[in-house]
Structures are given as C-alpha cells and as structure tokens.
Amino acid sequence: MIPEIGQFSLIIAFFLSLTMAIYPIVGSLLNKKELLLYARPMAIGQFFFIMISFFSLAISFLLSDFTVSYVTYNSNTSLPFFYKFSAIWGGHEGSLLLWLTILSVWTLLVSLFTKKLPERYISLVLGVLGIISSSLLIFTLLTSNPFERLLLPVSDGNDLNPLLQDPAMVMHPPILYIGYVGFSVPFAFAVAALLDGKLEKGWASWMTPWTVASWVFLTLGITLGSWWAYYELGWGGWWFWDPVENASFMPWLAGTALIHSLQVTKTRGLFKSWTILLAILAFSLSLLGTFLVRSGILISVHAFATDPQRGIFILALLSLISGGALFLYAFRARTIKDEGSFDLVSRESFLLINNILLIVSVLVILIGTLYPLFLDALGMGKISVGPPYFNLVFIIPMIPLSLFLGIGMHASWKKTSLSKLINKLSLLVLLSIIFGYLILDFTFGVSNFLTLIGFILGLWIILSSISKPAEYIFSNKLKISNFTNKLWGMTVSHFGMGIFIIGVTITSTYSIETDRSARVGDSWDVGIYSFTFDDLRSVSGPNYEAQEAAISVFNGNNLITQLLPQKRIYSVQQSPMTEADIDNRLARDIFVALGEPLGDGSWSLRVQIKPLIRFIWLGAIIMALGGLISISRSLSESVRNKYD
C-alpha cells in the first residue's frame, strides 16, 4: 500500500509541476495575470506530494519491504538503521527521487522568499523550475520508478553496496545534490529573464544569494566526497580525476565563475548576457553530471545502449532543458545591452580573467572526461585519460588564476592606478617569495620548482586576503565597521583557497607512501616514525566479519597511537572492504590500511605519512564558510521580511 501511495503522489506531483510550468509561461505570453497566480500554489503542492513520495520510499526501506524491487536491490534486514535510510539514494531510481525532493524544496523556498519581487518575473522563474521538475518527474515515472514491485517475493535483500555503508556517505549525496540542484534556481532566474525579454533592475542581486548558497553546499559536498574517498577506498588519495569527481567539479568551477561575474553585473551593470550564459552553463553541467554518474555510461558506453529507453530519454531531457535555454539565449542575448566601461587595470578586468580561466578549465576537464567515451562510441579505440593529463591541463590555468586573484582583490572598480597597486602589493609579493622559500626550506626542504611555486602562490593568496581587512583596520580613511559581510566573505573564501593550495602542494610532493608485507611482531620505520605490528584479531560487526590489525606507531620511543585498520567481509555481498585507520593531526596524517593476507601469516600493508593533507579539506570548508558569510545578511533579511 505504501509504495502505491508514493507512486501515486509522484504522478500527482507531475501534473502539479506541469501546471506550474505551463500556466505562468502562457500567462505571461498572453498577458493574462490570473494565470500567473497559479505558480506559487503549484510549488507548494508539488513539494507536498514529492515529500509524501520520498517518505513512502523511506518507510519501505525502514520496514524492509522486499516486494519493492528497488528496496530489494539496495537493502537488507541486517543493515543498520541509518544505512537503511541512506540506502534510499544508494541506486539510480532513489537518487533521482532525492534529486526531485531537493528540487521541490528549492522551488518552495523560491516561492516563499520572493514575495517582494515582481509577480510576473517570479511566476516565470517558477515556470522554468516547473519545466525542469516535470521533465525529471516523467523521466522517473516512465524509466526509473523506485516503487516498482517484484513479481516474485524474496526473503531478503541484496544489501547496500558496502562502500556506501559509511557516515560520510550518508551525508555526501544529499549535500552534493543540494548544491547541484540549487543551481537550477540561478538557471531559472536567467531563463525567466530571457523569456521576459527584459532584465528587471536588481535582477543580479536577487540571484546572488541563491547562487552562493548552492555553491556553499556543492563545495561541502565535494569535500565530503574527497574525504570519504581518502579513508574508504583504501589507497590514501584525495582526488583521482575520476569522471564521477569531474562531474561534480565542473559545475563547481562554473558556479565559482558565476559568483564572480555576478559581482560585476551587480556592481557595474556589466557582463549581463555573460552572467546569464554562466547561469545556464552551471546548471547544464549539473544535469550532465547527474546523468553521467547515474546513466552507467561512465562504466561503459555500451551500458547506455543496453537500456536505450533511459539513454534516449536522458539525451532528450538535456537537449530540452539546456538546449532550449541556449536557443532562447541565442535569440535574446543580442537585446541585452551593457552600458559602461572599465580600464585595463580594474576590478572588472581581473574578474574577467578569473571567468575566462575558470571556463577554460571547465572545458579542458569536460573534454578530458568525455573524450574516451566519444572515441569508444565511434569505434576509434579505447583510451584512458587520467591524472597525468588532468594535472597538466588543469594546473596551467590555475597558476595565473592564483596570481591574479591576489591582485584583483585589491583593484578598485572601473579604474585603478597601476602605480598605487604596485605600491600596495610589492611588499606582499616580496614577503610571499621570501617567506615561501624560507618556510619551505626549513620544514620540508625545497626539492622541486613547481612545489616552490605552489607554496609561494598559496602564501601569496593568504597574505593578500589578510591584508584586505588589515588595510581597513590600520588606515586613517577606512573604518573596519565599513568592512561589509560581502568583503569578509571574499576575504575568508580566498584565505581558504590559499590554505587549500598549500595543502595540495605539500601533500602531493612530500607524502611518503609505502607498501610492505608484515606479520605480528614485525617492526619497521617509515619517515621519522616507527611501526610495530602488535596483534591480529577477528572482529564482528552488525553485518560483516573483519580481520583487525593492531599497529603501534612510535616517534622515537614515544608511543603516538595504536591504529586498528580492518579488512571487512560484508556477509551478503561477500565483498572485501578496506577500512583504513588514520591518526590525524593538523600537520600530518598517518594512514594505515590492511591489504591482503599473503598466506604465510603475513599481510600486505599500506602505510602513508601525509603532511598537511588536512589543509585540503580545511581550506575547502573555509571557502564554504566565506560563501556563507557573504550572504548572511541577505539570508537574515529575507527571513525577517518573511515574518514581518
């Protein structure tokens, strides 16, 4: 009964979202005001029924209803409670439902927090969100129904993929999706402006908080994913340029570009059509990412052909939503005029550089990710494009980006005197180079040129960010009370970026990664640390059996910690899982993973020392925090307005 309620609600939601899509758009074309008024109630109704549907699936999982095919394939009676819940998004169908649920929440928020905006415009925004929602709903209902029943009942389920049975994986998909799907809001704002034929004054300011909020979630989602890969996949890497990772990174880069171009549009009224294009691009990349990950095409292009209905539907959806938006853009972009000018040395000019470099990096990642698929599909050979390629092509735009980032922050709008800028920054440049070299030399030793460049750039961004509020504190003309939340946001985010760059640079150069075999009683050294294999024992979990090694770590004669890495066998899927154990400090991680038994009582072990790897995730979290600070004012204002 409950799955049927879920499915029926999904059908109702489809019709509501279709109404939300058609009525406002037709209403604005025919100038019929009464049709516009349908948008908000439909947004609320859609939210209500998609929620019912989502919770129906949740209940089916919690009750282990194995008459539902999706539950059978992704759950098991012995699965712990939390994972039964997170198993909702353990497969394709449920992920789509999560996607829709999050979209309905964003749509509801747009309808609730935009009461002061022009009715016609907001109705169009909701109409565009309705188009997205209804097309994904019909896709879900026709090709990926999570409520489908099994013809023959089974006694127990196939269990959730053990890789996903992890706390970070409970959080990662929803947070990532909140970011991904959130980009539908700036997309809708942009497309609604194109449909409307005119840009309302304040349009860019309305769009900014939604864009930044989505970006904050996307940043945190990617960070969680990277952290999870680091400790769960068992090889100690934090980024592999895997297509799945790239699928989330491309919208992030485009969203970052969008946030920066929005500043120009908001402050100077320039780059309007470019900002619209970026908003379309950011969400299109999110859609592409969702489908790349979920269609199975990444594992093999032939997976696309085994289920042609899904594949063709996906292509149709992408061309309808993104193609439609671009088509509209091609017609209307010309009518959008920018009034104003700026100098070569100006904030606008640096933000333009930022946008161009970010979009170049999106495009090279896109080509690198899709190229092997196209080649295979065209029968021109099977190739791999991996870290060596991506590191090379990504780092080329990133070096000038980091350099100009520090300068751009200190440039003023419209025109900056070059000599003043040089006066202001030459000391910082000098400090970054000297301290960069000295610090690196004293700590890790300068071993290669690129590492030195990376470290200096990271330091340069940090110093340049800190000097921004410092300038307000120590200046006679400026007051720190005038340092707005927006400026704090910028400072904090860029500071985080500097921390991130230092983390990446140091970890990728100075990590010590070793594989060895050892048996109980063995001792060995890695870097400055000594390791002793104390014990090996069997441990039982709720749905797995594990071998657990106890390995003591010493620095000289001081015991630092005892690490307990496990090799788990999950009872249902019988797949072995590596659970690494990590001693983490801000300065370094000691990572130990238990490999395979080698027969004679010895085990293969992976022991790694990773200096400053925490800076990578810490930097990303600081970036997200900066985003949050920059919109904190608009957030509190909109909540206050709501309850006035």
Binding site: D343, V360, I367, Y371, K382, S384, P388, Y389, T514, R516
Partner: protein
C-alpha cells in the same frame, strides 16, 4: 610528434602523487626509483574501477609492478616498457594518453582553449575600454 609527447610527459607540470615508494620493491638508485614511480602512477589497473597500479592492491596490479621492476633492473628504458605494456594491454592501460592520431584533438584542445581565452580577453577588454 614524439618529441612533443616526450616534452609533455616529462614537463615539470606533471606532479600527481609521484612519491609512492614500494618498500619491498625499493631501488638503490634514485633515478631508477623515480622511473619506477612515474610508471606505476600512470599505468591503469585493468581489473579495478579506475585506479593506477600504484594505488591498487589487486593481484594483477602487484604482478605488473613486479614485472615493471624487473624490466627497470634489466635496464629497459621507460619508453620501451610503455610500448611493451601497450602491446599487451592496448592504449587503455595508459593514464597519460600518448599523442597519436586518435588523441590529437584531446591534446590540441587545451592549447586552443587557452588561445581562445586570451583572444576573448583582448576582444572584451577592447569593447569596454573603447566605450570610455
């Protein structure tokens, strides 16, 4: 062509995590060690889901690592080891795709994009500085 590829693959930009050291497979000579590290970090483990053989503990990856080590010890140059591996497993085994007919577009596009980026910057800048 070959020269360009060599330049790209040897270029100082290819950072990655190049410092994987296999204790049991350690080399005395640091030059050989770095050749080994370069190799295992750009060879795909064919039985894994998108992992290098350096990262993988799968038996096939371990065997391949041992094989690469013995070739290096016998003095086989890096390029010849790569040829040996591609002859056996195809281009799919290389994470650093070689420059050849079917990867021409892949390697050319980043350069083209950067050029387009620079051109775009100049064009946009001229448009906005002219207005004043």
């Amino acid at each position: 062509m070959n020269f360009v590829y060599k330049f790209l693959s040897l270029s100082l930009f290819s950072i990655g995590s190049l410092f994987a050291i296999d204790q049991e497979l350690a080399f005395e000579d640091p030059a050989l060690l770095s050749t080994y590290q370069d190799l295992v970090n750009e060879i795909r483990c064919l039985v894994c889901q998108n992992q290098t053989i350096a990262d993988s503990t799968a038996p096939l990856a371990t065997d391949l690592k041992r094989e690469i080590k013995s070739m290096i010890e016998q003095g086989v140059p890096k390029d010849d080891i790569l040829i040996f591996l591609t002859d056996r497993y195809g281009d799919f085994v290389l994470y650093n795709p070689p420059l050849q007919a079917n990867t021409l577009v892949l390697w050319a596009t980043p350069i083209i994009f950067i050029l387009i980026g620079v051109a775009t910057f100049i064009l946009i800048l001229r448009k906005y500085t002219k207005q004043s």
